[in-house]
Subunit: 242 residues, 2 copies
DNA sequence: CGTCTTATTGACATATTTCAACAAAGGTGG
DNA sequence: CCACCTTTGTTGAAATATGTCAATAAGACG
């Protein structure tokens, strides 16, 4: 009773590159099933080797690293279309934890077939490398944000980022984007304390730039937010889907 | 008069995975020549599409992003064995600048043959993806360092990182590692001001933990440095060489 | 009706930045 | 060979952005 790749709702989204018929057939074979998890579930655990790879079909999540002393760095927010577990498949173990923030549905792949993928479908292997390069690009931007920008710029950057990603998935039709995370999650993503993050969000709201409440984000002054964030709109490019 | 891959001095270093004879032959064909550049030269420019890919054969460099207002984030320090330009080859343009800190020698590859590589040598394609995952891992660690750690921990982390990398290349035989960069470069890497970076380095020196002067780093108390850095020694794994 | 989680706000503490001045070293041109 | 200038490193004092502490509010849930 799973979704056929043919009928995958993500394929038509503007965010993703088109797939050839041949690739579609291959992906259907590659796909082993679906996994439904409740909000709060840990999908991949830092330090563990996962026998599986996932593509997010529905729902949102969080990827983070935990330091020895308990501090936490949110590495990225997880949206539909994200491919999870590649690190583990290649390097033996995950370097961060992935957790479901909302209920989620994931396509499941077998990591043992990854090598097969490279051998029989070099185009898909190429796409996987591309995906890695995309992630690398994102992390470079994030690094520059944490290293060089002040609080309001960091928060603005993170909000822009999430907004754009939601937009690429066609989730902003209502004028708001779903952001089911907590302020603490954002704080851990941008490297600020919870209190200061809260005050910064309050300022953006007070100035009529961005309003994040009840799990949804509205941008009454998106241009201004992009300006504060020094956000490069070419930032998100079409990406391959797995 | 270039170095034959067969005789590549990097191949035997403990840092790199071994290559099959077949792969060696292929790499020799893939390699188009060598490029020698002087210290200070820009090798790859942010925003530009490079027709070439490089592997660092000798020398050290720097990768950084520049923000609109001139602030600079050093993304990573470049050592021998690093593969440069993959982002440009896959995504059309580089997302950061790469610059030679010392004189450098680079192996040159043709980006147009990248697709060929995936098709005819899936194992090498796999390795390329692996390399991307390694970089992603590193950037995740860097992000956690900038986001969650205080000044002395950040500096300690960066020094450990560079030391370990030099060690993997067999560069620490003398008891010191070559670190040809400026304090400003380190400051831009860890997201601290130059002044505070300087004072933090002074403290590490005063306490007999790490001494960086005249372009070389000595670690009279490496255990303590690793402790401050919360440095995970399993951090650097064997990587493929291109 | 309590209890728990999340968001909010003010007051205070402090790590880090900024400003400024100086020292050491190397290069250049007279 | 020496004055001069540029680059890099060093140090103290003052300014400030952000963190920490503490208390309250608002909603969810059993």
């Amino acid at each position: 009773m799973t979704t056929a790749c043919q009928a995958c709702p993500l394929r038509k989204k503007p965010l993703f590159q088109q797939m050839s018929d041949d690739e579609l057939v291959f992906m259907q074979k590659f796909k082993k099933g679906e996994l439904s998890v409740q909000a709060g579930t840990t999908i991949l655990l830092e330090g563990a080797a996962s026998p599986q790879l996932f593509t997010v079909l529905r729902g949102q999540g969080l990827r983070y690293k935990t330091l020895e002393d308990g501090r936490r760095q949110v590495v990225n927010f997880v949206f539909a279309g994200d491919f999870l577990g590649l690190q583990s498949a290649l390097m033996g173990e995950m370097k961060h934890t992935t957790e479901a923030t909302t209920d989620m549905v994931l396509c499941v792949f077998d990591r043992n077939e990854l090598w097969n993928l490279f051998r029989t479908h070099p185009g898909r292997g190429y796409d996987l490398t591309f995906l890695g390069a995309t992630e690398e690009h994102f992390l470079g931007d994030a690094l520059a944000t944490l290293g060089q920008r002040e609080a309001i710029e960091r928060v603005a950057w993170a909000l822009m980022r999430m907004w754009r990603r939601a937009e690429g998935l066609g989730l902003t039709g209502s004028g708001t984007a779903p952001l089911p995370w907590k302020q603490q999650d954002l704080a851990d993503a941008v490297g600020l304390s919870l209190v200061h993050t809260n005050k910064t969000l309050a300022r953006l709201k007070r100035e009529g730039i961005a309003v994040w409440q009840d799990g949804r984000l509205a941008l009454p002054n998106r241009a201004r937010l992009a300006e504060i964030a020094m956000y490069d709109d070419g930032d998100i490019v079409q990406r391959p889907l797995f």
